[in-house]
């Protein structure tokens, strides 16, 4: 579903991403680990066609994102570290708004509220202005937007950063649920524990390169941490 082939991005003399090869199948939750500036966000920006690759390709559902920018965005949803919505609109109105932009504006009010039920956001909160929401609640609206869009791929950029453990846990469950529905997930994160818990595979990035890749089932928490630190120190 998500595929990067020799994907490279250079900003002037700075090499942000070098020769990334990546393939994420439906149902996979691939967690990208790495220090700040390792190239995680650049990878997500390239999949979203927010920046052009210097070389190589990023493809969603078999389509190159640079040559099919609108078509590929039908299949993908993005949840950034801070899901920023229109603060004067309610959660429901924000969902309607982004659904309309995604071309999915045929939902009834009840169907839209059902998406909030699915992500665990109370209906009473859904009709409240987003300006009053916590970060966790906005993340849930982000997931609801992805659900309503029927996205086949989900790009998450440090989504649990700043969430309390309970909200983070709930978020992981939602990701697991989406994975179970066949959604391919690419999540950039610093949270080794969450990567091990939620991911099916992890990749470690350093200085724009993918230096290690493994299935989460093959390593324990401690081992994952040791491998990660070895790469960061080496």
């Amino acid at each position: 579903m998500l595929q990067a082939s020799h994907l490279t991005k250079r900003y002037g003399s700075h090499q942000a991403l070098t020769d990334l090869d990546l393939s994420i199948a439906p149902g996979d939750v691939y967690c990208l680990l790495g220090a700040n500036g390792a190239g995680k966000t650049t990878t997500i920006n390239l999949f979203l066609d927010f920046v052009e690759p210097t070389s190589g390709t990023a493809a969603i559902n078999g389509l190159d994102v640079t040559t099919h920018p609108l078509e590929t965005k039908k299949y993908v949803a993005d949840i950034p570290e801070q899901v920023m919505l229109y603060p004067n609109l309610t959660g429901l109105e924000n969902l309607e708004c982004f659904n309309a932009l995604a071309g999915q504006d045929g939902y009834s009010r009840e169907e839209l509220l059902a998406f909030f039920d699915e992500v665990g956001l109370a209906r009473e909160a859904a009709v409240r202005r987003v300006g009053t929401y916590s970060k966790g609640m906005r993340q849930k609206v982000g997931i609801a937007i992805a659900l309503a869009k029927k996205a086949k791929a989900l790009l998450l950029d440090e989504p649990t950063s700043g969430l309390d453990p309970r909200a983070s846990n709930e978020f992981s469950h939602l990701i697991g649920k989406l994975s179970g529905q066949g959604v391919a997930v690419l999540m950039a994160t610093h949270d080794l524990f969450r990567a091990k818990e939620s991911g099916t595979r992890v990749g470690i990035m350093k200085d724009g390169r993918l230096v290690a890749e493994m299935a989460t089932g093959e390593v324990g928490h401690a081992e994952l941490e040791r491998i990660y630190l070895d790469h960061m120190r080496g």
Binding site: T41, N45, L48, F50, V51, L70, E71, K73, K74, V76, A77, D78, P80, Q82, V83, M84, L85, Y86, P87, F98, L101, A102, G103, G142, I145, L155, D157
Partner: protein
Amino acid sequence: MLAADRERGTISLIGAQPTTVSSIVTLRIGLRFAVVVGVTLLAALVGVVAAGVPFAMDTWSRVGIWTLATGLYGAFWFAVAMAIAARGASGATTALAAGGAWLVLVVIVPAAVNVVTGALYPMPSRVQMVQVMREASDEASARGSTLLAQYFEAHPDLLPDGGQHVADAAAIRAAVADEVQRLVRPVAETFDAQATHQRLLAARLRFLSPALLLRGVLDDVTGTGAVRYETFTTQVTAFHDAWREHFTVLAVARQPVESIAAVPVFTFVDESAGDVARRACPALAVLAAGACVLGGIFVHSMRRYSCAR
């Protein structure tokens, strides 16, 4: 709007949707344009109806030109906003740039045009003109009898039977008035010439400011423009000449006014909406071209616009 979305952080969610950011911005701007221009036009139409303007073809043609000019002027400024927004600067910078553009094009350029036309073609002193008129009047009055004699030399057909003219007060006054008019005319023509030079230069320089272009079109449409005024004063001057000639001849020839119907009557031949439309065309074309160029800049800039975090 674009800067607000970037600062609010909603731009990345928008950018992740299967629609171009430029089409969303165009839609938003288009909606605002429709509301602003729609309300303006509605208010104008209400004004036309409330003022009791007759529903003639000419009226509706002028309302049509007014509508087009207002719409294009609005389109120009919305295109300015879009072109600036597409640069991707912060909200404060975008607002400052838009305000700066407005200040330059609506305040500074028109003021500069005013200064330049006045400096290049200064109007002669009014005091000097009044002085010339007084001197001409005094001189002509002193030569009243001589002037009357010269008048009859120039118009021998007006001499009474017997070939001797009578220098009565009315005849002398008519001859004096004729002479004053002759002496003052060069000064008056200097005024007119400078005013025409100013108008022509201002007409050329108006293309530097959309506000001046709109002002010119609206003045023409409503009949308060310089061209119509000049047409009016030309006709008034011609009528004045005809009127003076008519009564001078009667006074000098000591003839009574036998028929009121023979007295010249002023009839203003007004310009048609077609004349106004022809004159408005260059201004409207420049406003439309300006909006198109700025729209092109917007489209070009949006191709490089990044929603990247």
